[in-house]
């Protein structure tokens, strides 16, 4: 036996390889549970659009809100759906994936085999986190796309009346919607970092998921209590609905910055905490 001899099919490690990342995405998007979750996310714009279409609210009511604007432009089905889903369904979807990230592999015992391949622990976390980001983006885009398509069919397109009352050409409106999706994804990414941190603490993926979901709800409850206004801006969910700023004309970018910074801060803090926890942890599952 000689060490110098390079066995067949073995190569020097490339600088960047996306194979493991793609395998992770296949795992997430190949899982029936996640398909069901995404179907629920996609059902909201469908229910909303049909409900509005059938009941046809009196014109002029609820002006200035997304739901009130639905009948004027199909794009607002997407925006209203995101508004409805961001407090509950989208965080649940992200919590399910993030909570599963490390705890799921530990629970199944596959973690010990991945680490002995070897997969470097930092790399494992990066791949897991990257998959959470992709999942959050896909979920957000899914809601927006289903909402837009169905909205266009039921209510038509055309110029978009912004929340400030001005009118944007249709494709500018679509551009704004894409920016909204990116903003929502960034917010969910910060939240996902918390989820992944919790996932490194336990071998029970469901437990991690529920803990992170409760955190999202608790944060929103506290955000609704005026007496706690001192801490509101530190709550992870506080700036999530600020995406509405993107539908004003002109956009005050300054009002989006706090939300982005908040998400990045949560990402940095809980990303490093997760890394610190996981890189030194004994894997005994």
């Amino acid at each position: 036996m000689s060490v110098a001899e390079v066995p067949a099919g073995v190569v020097a490690p490339p600088l960047v390889s996306t194979r493991f990342f793609r395998s992770e995405l296949l795992l997430i998007f190949g899982r029936r549970r996640n398909w069901v979750g995404m179907a629920v996310l996609a059902a909201v714009p469908v229910v909303l659009a049909i409900a509005v279409k059938v009941t046809a609210p009196p014109a002029g009511s609820d002006v200035g809100s997304f739901i009130g604007n639905i009948t004027s432009n199909g794009l607002f089905v997407a925006l209203a759906s995101l508004t409805l889903e961001i407090p509950l369904f989208l965080p649940i979807a992200v919590a399910a994936i993030a909570g599963d990230a490390v705890a799921g592999e530990a629970n199944q015992g596959t973690l010990r085999y991945l680490l002995s391949v070897p997969v470097d622990r930092t790399r494992l976390l990066l791949v897991k986190f990257g998959a959470i980001v992709v999942f959050a983006l896909i979920c957000t885009l899914l809601v927006a796309a289903v909402g837009t398509l169905l909205g266009l069919v039921l209510f038509g397109g055309g110029p978009v009346v912004t929340l400030s009352g001005s009118t944007l050409p249709f494709w500018s409106g679509v551009g704004r919607l894409v920016l909204v999706c990116l903003y929502v994804t960034v917010c969910l990414t910060g939240f996902g970092a918390i989820g992944m941190f919790v996932s490194t603490l336990t071998e029970q993926p469901i437990g991690a998921t529920i803990a992170v979901m409760l955190l999202a709800f608790a944060s929103q409850i506290m955000d609704a209590i005026p007496q706690l206004s001192v801490i509101h801006r530190y709550l992870p969910t506080h700036y999530w609905l600020s995406f509405a700023e993107l539908m004003r004309d002109p956009v005050d970018a300054g009002r989006l910055v706090p939300g982005l910074l908040s998400a990045l801060a949560y990402l940095a803090i809980f990303g490093s905490a997760g890394w610190a926890r996981f890189s030194g942890r004994d894997v005994t599952s």
């Binding site: 036996m1 060490v3 099919g9 493991f20 015992g109 002995s116 894997v283």
Partner: protein
């Protein structure tokens, strides 16, 4: 390359609970050997294996795999090490093949272009090619075990660390695994085989290490270790009293009589092969004294006896 495929110095693991699972273990697994890693349940075998693979950080001590320090050189060393740790573990809703593909994808040092050949070859080797498309969750225990062995053999290895590889296999499967390991060893691959099936060890191992209460209480070549326990003679005679007297006169020690069977230690521990009294002389003496002999047997100490001697007789799991 170092002559030792695995070497450790004072490897110790104390868990947060205060329990010392592995206590100052100095493993020495020679390259090319088949090393039987023995010990009762709870003696620290699996924790030792987790330490070797870097899954658990040692409280004290260090170890090398294939001559490279761990865990610093894990990225270089572990691709050359195939492992089966504490039973199979795979994604239940992926097929057997997709599970192997995932492990192959996680390995940065394998060529993506030949993934399929590698996976198929590994499946073929454990006789799982036909069932590889089925979801892991419907695999039987034996199939799961085979898949785990396939994962350990997913690419050419220099060292295999196998924790009870035949657990859950039918006799056919056990035999196949034994033959597979023998063939791999013949290719020069070092195998660390953790097991409590002593017959398995007797058939394929060249070296053994015995764990007890977190300590490595014995280690070395199987033949040498065996020689350390004294061989015994067993005489079956209708006149056991007379036979016992002859054995005693010959200088054999620990003469015991049970019914028509008389046993005695024929040499001293550590003198196997050079026993103080040759067995043929015992027979001659018995015949000469007109003691009827119905049966005569020299038993080199069997592994089980040695094992029990080293680890105690109790059935209790080590605490």
């Amino acid at each position: 390359m170092s002559d030792l495929a695995i070497s450790s110095r004072g490897l110790t693991k104390r868990f947060g609970s205060g329990q010392v699972a592995v206590n100052a273990v100095d493993l020495a697994v020679p390259a090319g050997s088949v090393y039987g890693f023995l010990g009762p349940n709870g003696s620290g075998k699996t924790t030792s294996i987790r330490l070797l693979l870097g899954l658990v950080r040692p409280t004290a001590g260090r170890h090398d795999l294939l001559g490279e320090p761990m865990p610093q050189r894990a990225a270089r060393v572990l691709p050359r090490v195939g492992a089966l740790v504490e039973g199979p573990a795979f994604h239940p809703y992926l097929s057997g093949r997709d599970n192997l593909r995932r492990l192959d994808a996680a390995d940065r040092t394998t060529d993506p272009a030949s993934e399929r050949q590698r996976v198929d070859a590994a499946l073929e080797r454990v006789g799982l090619l036909a069932a590889a498309g089925k979801r892991y969750r419907i695999f039987s225990l034996g199939m799961r075990q085979r898949l785990a062995i396939a994962a350990a053999l997913l690419r050419p290895r220099e060292l295999l660390i196998l924790d009870e590889p035949t657990n859950g296999l039918d006799p056919q499967g056990t035999r196949e695994v034994r033959q597979l390991l023998t063939a791999l060893a013949a290719d020069g691959i070092t195998v660390l085989l953790s097991t409590h099936l002593l017959s398995e060890v007797e058939q394929i191992c060249t070296h053994v290490g015995v764990m007890h209460l977190g300590r490595l209480v014995a280690q070395g070549e199987l033949a040498t270790l065996r020689a350390q326990t004294a061989p015994r003679v067993r005489v079956l005679s209708p006149e056991p009293a007379a036979a016992a007297k002859i054995l005693g006169d010959l200088g054999l020690t620990s003469v015991e009589r049970v019914g028509e069977t008389v046993t005695a230690v024929i040499g001293e521990a550590g003198t196997a092969g050079g026993t103080t009294v040759p067995p043929e002389k015992v027979v001659a003496a018995l015949v000469h004294a007109d003691v009827p002999v119905r049966g005569f047997e020299v038993s080199t100490s069997d592994l089980e006896e040695m094992f029990v001697e080293l680890t105690g007789e109790g059935f209790d799991v080590s605490g």
